[in-house]
């Protein structure tokens, strides 16, 4: 198929429609608005619905309702809006419902700014809502990957019965790149016999809820869900390795920051520094095992993010103190330059062991 030149936000929307999603519930917020607008324009053309809710809170609860019927459904927002959705996301986790949530991040805390950031890493991977639970977090680094991972996100959500987040940022959302909506491998999806679409007089009533008055009963559901997280980690962990075969210094970065880091790695190699890049594509589950193996070969890790050091802790845990892990980041909407990352690599290479 011919490639199309699209903004990242639009590519996610188009990929969702192509994945069979016919329901979008959202609320306008910069820098994800193109996604809502694309849905508003194109959903009606394919018999779908794009509904602007009265709030982020209402939007995520509309997602909860639609997901309860077994329908593929998506919502999108940016950082402050995701915070508002977090209550609903917790209920969706607790109710074992599949859906796709997009976070086109901007700087924070508070109203923050509208420039790209990765400062919601901890929120997305550790605590999107109250309670003992996680969601799947996918971090694309290009418009092409935003499309591919959106298709994948719907399948993962359906298979593991949990929300899946496309974890992007304002830069990826706004930038235009060619994208090919290539056929994605068709995965076998489980039947949604839990869905609330009326009993049809053929079965006992289905109940979708997250309330358990007996602590043991609640514990059982949480433990069962963590079994699914375990399977998810075993089967679905994704990452990219770049120039790592003989690397002494491994940069760890995801999303747009990985693109910047890749340039820095290439430039470092030109200067004789044996650098490489490890790019987690799934942030939850985090690629702990491959990073741990990598620690046996490299001398030092440089974790680069658009925040003050959030993934840093996951890298440290994965590396198990085998090698030093140093953070470099810019925050508040400031994008690090390849030169800045290279400077950090030079420091590492020139510094004391």
């Amino acid at each position: 198929m011919a490639k199309m030149l699209m903004k990242g936000n639009e590519a996610i929307a188009e990929a969702a429609i192509r994945a069979g999603c016919r329901l979008f519930f959202g609320y306008p917020i910069t820098p994800q608005t193109e996604l809502s607008e694309y849905m508003a324009k194109n959903m009606p053309k394919c018999g779908g619905l794009s509904l602007q809710a009265e709030s982020e809170i209402a939007a995520i609860n509309m997602v909860l309702g639609a997901a309860s019927t077994g329908a593929r459904v998506i919502t999108s927002s940016s950082s402050p809006g995701i915070s508002l959705k977090s209550e609903g996301i917790s209920y969706i986790i607790g109710s074992d419902l599949p859906c796709v949530i997009v976070n086109v991040q901007r700087g924070g805390p508070g109203l923050g700014g509208i420039q790209p950031a990765q400062s919601d890493y901890n929120q997305a991977t550790k605590a999107l809502g109250h309670g003992d639970g996680h969601i799947i977090v996918l971090a694309p680094d290009s418009v092409q990957e935003m499309a591919a991972l959106t298709a994948e996100a719907f399948d993962l959500a359906d298979i593991y019965r949990m929300p899946c987040m496309i974890f992007a940022d304002g830069a990826l959302g706004q930038m235009m790149e060619p994208v090919d909506f290539e056929a994605v491998p068709v995965r076998e999806l489980p039947a949604k016999d839990w869905a609330c679409t009326g009993t049809g007089g053929k079965r006992v009533h289905n109940i979708i809820n997250s309330l358990y008055m007996e602590p043991e009963a609640l514990e059982k559901t949480v433990v069962e869900r963590f079994e699914r997280y375990k399977k998810l980690a075993e089967n679905e962990t994704k990452y990219e390795e770049f120039m790592l075969d003989d690397a002494e210094y491994a940069v760890v970065a995801y999303g747009i920051t990985a693109r910047i880091a890749k340039t820095a790695v290439i430039n470092a190699r030109r200067k004789g520094i044996k650098a490489g890049l490890f790019r987690p594509i799934t942030l939850y589950p985090f690629p702990e095992k491959p990073l741990n193996r990598l620690a046996d070969g490299v001398k030092k890790f440089l974790s680069v993010e658009m925040n003050m050091g959030q993934m840093l802790n996951d890298v440290k845990v994965a590396v198990e103190c085998k090698k030093p892990v140093i953070h470099f980041g810019r925050t508040g909407g400031v994008i690090p330059t390849p030169e800045e990352v290279l400077e950090q690599l030079e420091k590492l290479a020139g510094g004391a062991e």
Binding site: A58, N61, L64, A66, S68, T197, G198, I207, N209, S210
Partner: protein, 250 residues
């Protein structure tokens, strides 16, 4: 010979409600209407957070338990995904008129074809008797221990009057279940609400004045009296919006 029976739309699960609480009556009325309309197999109900949170165990149709106040948004998601379903929410006053006010107003503004059963007992029951948005001025609760004072806690909200101003609301009626006559009328209103939904006329909301003997600190009998003497005075019964009547008058 007809034997008095439990409606099919109710499960065999015993209600957890306190003695004298009128939730049981209201559950039964909703279930009778579902039976009479023959829609149990294509109905999805949304339970709230509050005393009626376990409504999902009591109705025989598919049920979803919504976050506090969000039932109208959840119902919107269900109805938009499956417009052929009959969808109702069952909500208390804290759920609908405090934390979920925005969802209530906008589900009305959009004119979603769903039915809201709004149970107003002027108090938070599940958490043990705190002040509700519909608590009357002067009414003593655990968080208005000196009586609700206008200057401090503000005024009680009249929901039917408020939502009847919204163009998407097809039907809004306030009923009570304090006596046989009113119970029968409440059922009529609930049935009319469900029928309006089937006719795709927009949002139907039935506000049911209900008792909370436990948290009002009254016997079931005295609670009924208190409802009549105080609640109905502030929350007059009647039809606040009916688009079919408006059409008939044209």
């Amino acid at each position: 010979m007809t034997v008095f029976q439990k409606p099919h739309a109710l499960t065999d699960m015993p209600f957890h409600y306190c003695p004298g609480c009128t939730h049981g009556i209201i559950h039964r009325l909703v279930a009778e209407v579902i039976d009479e309309l023959g829609v149990e197999d294509k109905t999805v109900g949304i339970a709230p957070v509050g005393c009626s949170v376990f409504a999902y165990n009591y109705f025989n149709c598919d049920m979803i338990e919504a976050p506090h106040g969000r039932a109208p948004a959840v119902a919107t998601g269900v109805k938009r995904a499956h417009p052929e379903l009959t969808v109702f929410t069952y909500q208390g006053d804290g759920d609908l008129a405090a934390i979920g006010t925005a969802e209530t107003v906008h589900v009305g503004a959009r004119g979603e074809n769903i039915t809201i059963i709004f149970v107003n007992n002027a108090i938070y029951g599940m958490t043990g008797g705190q002040m509700a948005p519909t608590t009357l001025l002067g009414q003593v609760t655990t968080t208005s221990p000196y009586g609700r004072i206008r200057e401090i806690q503000g005024n009680p909200i009249r929901v039917c009057e408020m939502v009847s101003t919204l163009d998407g609301v097809a039907y809004a009626e306030r009923v009570s279940v304090d006596c046989v006559k009113n119970v029968l009328n409440a059922k009529k209103a609930i049935k009319k609400g469900f029928t309006m939904q089937q006719e795709k006329r927009g949002l139907s909301i039935i506000e049911v004045l209900s008792t909370c003997p436990t948290n009002w600190g009254l016997s079931p009998e005295k609670a009924i009296e208190w409802l009549r003497e105080n609640m109905i005075k502030h929350y007059p019964l009647g039809v606040y919006k009916d688009v079919t009547a408006e059409e008939a008058n044209k």
